[in-house]
Symmetry: none
Subunit: 219 residues, 4 copies
DNA sequence: GATGAATGAGGGTTCATTCAT
DNA sequence: AATGAATGAACCCTCATTCAT
């Protein structure tokens, strides 16, 4: 995650070619400003300043504010996804001998952590704000429940069903429901990521959700 | 070019006195413009024009843009709530002889109808957009799941439990979960009210949710 | 021709109502700047400064640069026409006992004076510059030969024909030709009003033109 | 992404050496853009793009926008002149047995055709627009009546006078007058080349002009 | 000689807000 | 209380021009 914007001078003394570093610096500044201010409030001047770059350079790279915005959202979306990849490895408690409820609770906490990450929350609010005016944001909007999380839960449900601990016919649907429930309660109680969610509230959400699904599907 | 319809005071014919009709006109125009454009894009000029009122009159009544905004949100919140009161009378199908599942599905459809109403959706997006910058919006943000709906469901669950059809210990929690599940799936699939939700998708959401809760709580 | 831009305070001490003086000041500044710089070079900032008015006031009065431009051209066109009305009174040498040639020469000088007036020339160049891009300028462009001059000459030709000094069948056509000839040679030799026309050149143009028409139409 | 078609010099494969083809391409693009947009609106970026050349190459060749502009005008002036050389061969109808009036009418049509050519008109408007700000345009401005046309008419008048059909003392003056008359009426009625001149209007101009001169000079 | 990237100044336009009537 | 006119700051974007490769 290099963020320097100065042209780096290699060992051979070449003064640097076309500088993709600037593009990156602009994108990072754009993400920061758009997340902080929203689309309309964000000013290209400020983004340029924050990227230590002239305003026209921004326009040379991205054409106009809207395209810069979409690029920033796209980039941030990838960054958020990447940041949480380690969290999403499905292996960890699949084989766990722990009982189902504990597994679901643990999974729920993971969902909430990903969901309430500060930058991810700001991105979500931004996308919701602007999706009505920028239809290109629809894919980003549909990502509310990161697909990877759902897949992970599908695997978990399938495995537990195979083991005879659960009785889930249609794991995809059930997984989406579980995640949706956590997401909505998490967003709602944290004001869409605007206030930190106290640990006990998070725990309550996860445990009650686990209770519901255990009650419904434990064999 | 006088267009006011309020009665004049004073014998000499000077138009004078506060004109509460104007305040209302301004508020309505403000709601329309803020919902349409968002906080930053909305311009006081346009609001004044749309209210057929001078710009300074807006400032006389509301002080500044932010206070006008908060008043508009508050007003719209009440309007939305009021609009759906008829839908929310809890008596209607409580005594229905219909089975529990059907009652839950019907209730779910009611939730989605309220949730996806065009103005209600625009209001929700607006509140989510600005809650980070205007803390006074927090109450409005917490209204994501209209309280009345939840109360209604609590009553339903309680009654059905009394009748021996269900076995719900903590109806408040269960009701919140049911509503949260519907809300999240409805918002997600309709892009936060930005595209119409096809009937079969709405039906699927409601039925699967009913299935889950029936499975968990039917005695 | 009042040109003061300060709000005048009437005898009763009222501090001035809506100030049409500002509109006038803006228009005058606009004329000056557009004539000096041309449409594109002219900047609304400079016009506002020169009118001692804020830029937004310009926009409040005229909407945008193009409308300001058209208003300025229209105003200047009227001003130019008005400025030369005294010159155009047709009575002066109609009854003159002088011979026809002298009358035509005198008329020719009048045409050149009107034509080569500094502001009128700048206006003509401006209109020619922009008529391709602003179709609303077409009327102004068609005014190249002020209609009043042609009418005047028509009267002169008619009178002289009635007196038996000339033999002009179709005075309208002949008048347009005479004026066109003078105009073209005047514009050409003065570089469209860009360099002063020496007296002897002007005289030559007028005299040769008079010779041509006398030769063609003297009875 | 090399798109140049000029041959490379040097054995090692470095593209090098002056590429006069590029200079020509730049000039052509500059002419097109300046004629289309006028001096101020024309942007060096667009010219460079249209010439398929980097912007700096434009600066390398022409120094700055103004010099590029002057070169473009000069080039276009030559091109226009060259384009009409075939039309200007003076021999064609000089010996024509047709009567003088017909010859003058035919000549008039030739003048109007040359005058109202689309590119020639755009060039004229451009020169008139800018002559006040770029004194180097004065020669181009003086070319309003192409010298070649006048010479041609001088020859015609001389020949017809020698034949005893006309009685013209000073053919140069008369020729300039005839051309000036046509030019002014043609420009005026076509809005300086901005709207097409209907055939009957062109015919009327030419015929009335021929009538005038025949009336004045036929022996 | 030619390029792509970068710049600082300035373009037209719109904003939230206040003054004078 | 209500208005129309006015303001200064800021917006997005484009310009002619230069630097570094």
């Amino acid at each position: 995650m290099r963020t320097d914007s100065a042209p780096r001078r290699g060992a051979v003394g070449r003064p640097a070619g076309p500088q993709p570093a600037k593009r990156q610096a602009i994108l990072e500044a754009a993400v920061a400003v758009f997340l902080r201010e929203g689309y309309t409030r964000a000013s290209v001047d400020v983004i340029a300043d924050e990227a230590r770059v002239s305003k026209q350079t921004v326009y040379n790279h991205f054409g106009d504010k809207q395209r810069l915005f979409l690029a920033a959202v796209e980039g941030e979306r990838e960054r958020v996804a990447a940041d949480f990849t380690p969290d999403l490895e499905p292996e960890r408690d699949l084989g766990g001998a722990g009982d189902v409820r504990a597994a679901l609770v643990a999974f729920g906490h993971r969902v909430l952590r990903v969901l309430l990450d500060e930058r991810a929350s700001a991105l979500r609010r931004l996308v919701i704000s602007e999706v009505a005016r920028h239809p290109s944001l629809r894919p980003a909007c549909a990502d509310g429940e990161p697909q990877q999380l759902v897949s992970h839960l599908v695997a978990l449900l399938t495995r537990r069903t195979e083991r005879g601990e659960l009785d889930v016919d249609d794991p995809a649907t059930v997984a989406r429901q579980f995640v949706a429930l956590l997401v909505q309660q998490g967003l709602h109680q944290s004001m869409y990521g605007t206030r930190p969610l106290p640990g006990h509230e998070a725990a309550a959400i996860c445990e009650k959700a686990a209770d519901l699904f255990v009650r419904a599907y434990r064999r």
